[in-house]
Each structure stands twice: as C-alpha cells, then as structure tokens.
Symmetry: none
Amino acid sequence: MSGSFLFRVMTRFLSHATNRIDAKGRVSVPAAFRAVLQERNIQELYGFQDFVFPAISMGGPELLSRYEKQLDMLDGFSAEAHEMSLLVHGGGIFMKLDPEGRLMVTDFIRAFTGITTDVTFVGRADYFQLWRPEAFQDAQAAARSARLRRDRPV
Amino acid sequence: MSGSFLFRVMTRFLSHATNRIDAKGRVSVPAAFRAVLQERNIQELYGFQDFVFPAISMGGPELLSRYEKQLDMLDGFSAEAHEMSLLVHGGGIFMKLDPEGRLMVTDFIRAFTGITTDVTFVGRADYFQLWRPEAFQDAQAAARSARLRRDRPV
DNA sequence: CGCGTTCCCATTGACGCCCATGTGGTCCCA
DNA sequence: TGGGACCACATGGGCGTCAATGGGAACGCG
C-alpha cells in the first residue's frame, strides 16, 4: 500500500489511501476497507457517479435501495424523480472484487473521475469513494478553507 | 525523553515534550500522555489535521463522534455536509500505538506539519497535538506576545 | 482462433511484535 | 549532603506476517 493512512478496527469507512493501477487495469481495494465490507457482509458493490464531487461512490446494494426508497416517495412523473433515476440508475453500476480484493478500473470510472494511473480511496463512513489523487487533494484543501471561513468569518 | 516538562498524575493532557523519530519512522508518545490514555481507556487514537494550527490533533474516538454529531445536524445533501465529511472521514486517521507506546509518523502527518526528525507533543486537555518543534516554538511565542499586546495595549 | 477476463502463484516491501540497550532521573543510605 | 544503586522510559534493531503488486496460465466469449 502506498501513501496509506488506514488503520484497523473500524466499523465504518474512514481515512484515505492511494493505490496504483496495474498493467491489466486492476487496483487493490485497501485491506481496511475490505475488512469493513466483510464485516457488513457485502460481496457485490454498487457504485455511482457522485452527486457533489468528481468521484465514484461505492458501497453495498443497500446504498442503491436507500436512493430507490427516496425515489418511491416522489411523484413518478415529476422531473425530480426522472432526474434522480437518471443519476442513481443511469449513473450507477454493479461491480465485484477478484479473489485478491482488486477491482477493474473501467472507462466508466475513468471518464467521470479523470483517474489514469492511481486511485485514491476515501472513506465516507457508510461508503467509500474513488478519486483521482490530485482532485482529492484539491477538494480536501477547498473544504478545509471553506470550513475555516465559516467558523471565523472575516 | 528530551526537553520534557511533563508532570505525572493528571487526568488531562498537559505540558509538552519533544521526542526523536527513529530510522523506521516511529516516535515514542510521552509516558505521561500514555498514562492519560490508559486512564481514559483509549487504545485507538483518532487524529485529524487541526483547523487552526499546522499540527495534528489526536484523541480518543469520541473526538470523531463529536464531529459526526455536528454532521448529523446538517442537511445530508448539502455541500457543507459533504465538505465536512470529506474532512473528518476522508481526512481523519485512526492510529494505534505499538507495544512500546510509539506511533508511526506517516506522510499524512509529515506533509501537514512539516515534521521531519523530531516531534513536539503538546497537551490540549482533552487531546494532544503533534507539532514540528520549531513551529511550536514560534506559535507559542506569537501567542505569548499577542497576549502581551492585549494586556498592555500600545 | 484471438483477445480480454479471471484465477492462481510469486515477489517485495511495509508494518507490527518482540527483545536489547543506554541514559537520565529518582530514591535510599551512609 | 553526596554517592551509588535501581528503575522507568526513550531508542534501536531483528524478524515474522501480511498486504500490494506483478505476471503466468487457463478459461470464455466473440
């Protein structure tokens, strides 16, 4: 694991780590994240293009269920419902890991995130995200300064 | 322990001390701090990049819970909630000490603090911080003179 | 029949656990 | 009050384990 800051014993996805994509287009999911997946008994991953950041968000199938439940509460003919389905279904994909805990970095992922050679995995409590490393650095720095501005307004 | 002014018997993290990083990138957490950790029954540390100083703040997992409680009060879909999660989940780290009470000084810590060969541990009551020794000296001196200016306005 | 995908095994390097050492500080006793 | 023994703690390094990575081989689909 290169550039990793992950640690054991966590019931949720936390921290971040960057792994390299190999010649076959595969990348290892950090062991700590795999441990959470196993703990939650997740074998099939649901991923979708994040609504806020240029990243792929990934979690168990219940992540999709959660959004579908929200969809059900909307008027099925409303623009909002159509938009949400477009994102959740049209922007979603099911994936699974190989025996070593690696996943294929497909064009679906590369196109939306700008990922080329390395992937930064970012914990988000109930799910985790796939980022282009530089994009994550920038977004985190932006979030930090935004928070500073809110806390101590000029 | 070099340059230490630590005191025993304390229920809080107090004072400061500077220890050296060894060839493997490890550094001993001052015994007095470890005693507080044990007293509070903390075996796993949660750390994050401080919002105010160029230092890593560390404490028990309840430090994370505190921030998550703030997160829960926000609209889960708001940009602010996503930004905050990016910091406390994606930017936080869980660490634990080795049997001798040392911790790994990862790039995550070095990059943000500028730490290279030595670490200054600084007590902050409920948690403690990791500083680059010179940075701590400067910040403390600055704080001291700022206080002087307030007390005796020119 | 060829290419891409999946499985399996080898390698390497990082990290955790263990034990050793030295040094500074403290306590005790003369 | 000074000296010496003891002890706690910081520090250093050996070694085993495991995760990340790389590449060969079999398999399946077009």
